[in-house]
């Protein structure tokens, strides 16, 4: 049984159907990548899985338990963590406080080891512990967002376009880190426009088109698929 099962998911904004009939299984310790054009419904899917949006129909099962009706904060406590599009840094809190927020769900304990792990992955954050989140540069904010999500020690980490707006150097770094996190045992569901690199690290990948899944396969399969190349990867 898969760790995270998304089944026949449909989400609407008002009358607008943003995604429908989405079914994805994510196995433990996998990296699964969602790709698709703008407005295909990737973010919507991620938000529905993390509980920020309500599924209209369909179900989301986590470790065999149906979490479809759970609120966002309850899902976090179960072990599903999202790094949202746009990072969602608390601008008026320091780096340290932002990281603290990551442990909010862990009833009271603030294990130092979690900080150590994050600081090890992102030494930059250690340097800037006292800086306000809002004044960090884009790349640093992205690190902070990922680090914060890791503080909760999630079983599944959802990443929505972590490379957006980052300089090329950083993008490579971010992908390396994703691989490392995954190697440490965290399951990753990743949304990326940077399809080439994303597919390169993906165990499996899905293509979303106009709110529907049109293709699934291993990362390599999709990389080699000629239509995918034409539409998403460029010549």
């Amino acid at each position: 049984m898969a760790l995270l099962e998304i089944k026949d998911l449909e989400v609407r904004y008002g009358r607008i159907k943003a995604v429908e009939e989405i079914s994805v299984d994510v196995d433990a310790s996998e990296i699964v990548v969602l790709i698709g054009a703008n407005g295909a419904g990737k973010t919507t899917t991620m938000r529905a899985v993390s509980g920020l949006l309500a599924a209209r129909t369909g179900s989301i099962t986590f470790k065999g338990e149906d979490v479809t009706r759970l609120k966002g904060h309850q899902r976090v406590r179960k072990g599903i963590s999202l790094v949202p599009e746009g990072r969602g840094i608390f601008p008026g809190m320091t780096v340290r406080e932002n990281l603290d927020m990551g442990t909010y769900a862990l009833q009271g304990k603030n294990p130092e080891s979690e900080y150590d792990r994050v600081f090890e992955l992102f030494p930059r954050l250690k340097e800037r512990e006292k800086q306000m989140g809002g004044t960090m540069s884009g790349g640093e904010q992205q690190m902070l967002a990922i680090g914060r999500a890791l503080m909760a020690n999630p079983e599944v980490l959802l990443l929505d376009e972590p490379s957006m707006g980052l300089a090329p150097q950083f993008i490579r770094q971010i992908f390396a880190i994703i691989r490392e996190i995954n190697a440490q045992g965290t399951t990753v569901l990743l949304v990326e426009q940077n399809a080439n690199q994303a597919l390169a690290i993906a165990d499996r990948a899905c293509v979303l088109e106009a709110g529907r899944l049109t293709k699934t396969g291993t990362g390599r399969e999709l990389l080699e698929d000629s239509t995918i190349r034409d539409v998403y990867l460029g010549g």
């Binding site: 607008i16 973010t43 539409v231």
Partner: protein
């Protein structure tokens, strides 16, 4: 909408809200709208004409059940409704069109009323002029007040502007009490009225609401036409853009401050006009009722009718004026019920009864038809078109 970072951007939240609003729009509304759009231009005009004539005849028809009698004279009630309609029309320019939250609109209303009294009432030491002259005068004076208030404060954002305007309204009310010339609670008696007599009795008298009603409705019609022109012009677009995103508007070359001031001035002028009309009809002005709750009632009228929709807010104003007049017997309960209605309305129809987006361009009919024929359905109410991945673009 920023598809880019829907989490943090205000735009996305708004988009979400609007998306949901669209969802609430009931079927009858859509059906009526499409019916209306299907009429030809002259048919629309004809229907409008009939509506206007009916509006004029309302107090004469004095429909049972609707009438406010026997508690209140219906013609006078109609005048009050029209007056609130005019007030709502003015406030709508500020709140609905330019998106500036004004909780002290009553201040302009008061200034207008006092202008009319000061220049016509025998209780005032100033030179006296015919009442009709005080209407433009009231507008000029309120515009001056509006600009004087606007220049220092229009830089403020949202709620800060709201509290400052509220303070302005209170200052006006308190000054009316404190400054002796304004005669506080004693007030001005025998404020002027338009000329004209029938059988020796003045046409415009305090007890005869009918001429006052017609007079006011005529103003409403004229103002609606002028504001309509304004709406579908550079000015209206600038206001709307400011309401949507002030910074972006400024960067797109809209002199936001000037246009905000213009909105404030226009609103103020209409507030002043309404105040002067009230002063004329009642014939007596004192410092009562220029208070915050009344100001908030004005705002409620705009929201109730549907901010941005001119006809809607006029109806909203009329309703706000009508309810207490019709249900006088209910005493304080009527306000309680009014409050409940406001809450329910906001829950189930937060864009107001007749909320709709104004048209901001004038000569689009031809081109619109052309686009409709060629492109995908461009119905701006119905199901939004699928935002499928666009491949190849316009190529």
């Amino acid at each position: 909408m920023s598809a880019h970072s829907p989490l943090s951007s205000v735009g996305a939240k708004q988009a979400e809200a609007y998306g949901k609003l669209g969802h609430q729009r009931p079927n009858w509304y859509l059906r009526m709208k499409s019916w209306w759009n299907d009429r030809s231009r002259w048919q629309q005009w004809l229907i409008l004409l009939i509506v206007v004539v009916l509006a004029y005849l309302l107090p004469v028809i004095n429909p049972p059940l609707i009438t406010t009698e026997p508690s209140n004279d219906f013609a006078i009630s109609c005048f009050n409704m029209a007056l609130y309609g005019l007030v709502a029309l003015g406030l709508n320019v500020v709140v609905g069109q330019a998106g500036l939250l004004d909780l002290g609109y009553i201040g302009f209303f008061a200034v207008g009323a006092y202008t009319a009294s000061l220049w016509t009432s025998p209780d005032s030491p100033l030179v006296h002029i015919p009442y009709l002259w005080t209407l433009p005068l009231a507008m000029i004076v309120t515009v001056v007040f509006g600009i004087a208030l606007g220049i220092p404060t229009l830089r403020l954002r949202g709620d800060y502007l709201a509290i400052v305007t509220l303070g302005f309204g209170e200052i006006i009310r308190l000054l009316a009490t404190i400054v002796p010339v304004l005669k506080g609670n004693t007030g001005f008696q025998n404020v002027g009225r338009p000329p004209g007599e029938i059988d020796g009795a003045p046409i415009f008298s305090a007890s005869n609401g009918l001429p006052w009603y017609w007079f006011t409705v005529t103003f409403i019609v004229i103002v609606m036409i002028l504001l309509g022109n304004l709406e579908r012009s550079r000015v209206g677009r600038a206001w709307f853009a400011i309401r949507e995103d002030e910074d972006a508007a400024e960067i797109m070359g809209v002199p936001t401050f000037r246009f905000k001031l213009a909105a404030f001035g226009t609103g103020a002028a209409l507030g002043g006009l309404s105040g002067a009309l009230l002063a004329g009809q009642v014939g007596f002005v004192n410092n009562q009722k220029f208070d915050v709750p009344t100001s908030i009632l004005f705002l409620a009228a705009v929201i109730l009718g549907g901010q941005g929709n001119k006809l809607g807010v006029v109806i909203g104003g009329a309703i706000v004026a009508y309810v207490p007049l019709r249900f006088t017997a209910l005493g304080g309960w009527k306000f309680l019920i009014f409050g409940i209605v406001l809450v329910l309305l906001m829950i189930f129809r937060s864009q107001g009864l007749f909320g709709k987006k104004p048209k901001l361009l004038t000569y689009t009919a031809r081109i619109r038809r052309k686009v409709k024929k060629e492109g995908p359905p461009g119905d701006d109410e119905g199901t939004p078109p699928k935002t499928a991945p666009r491949r190849g673009g316009a190529a």
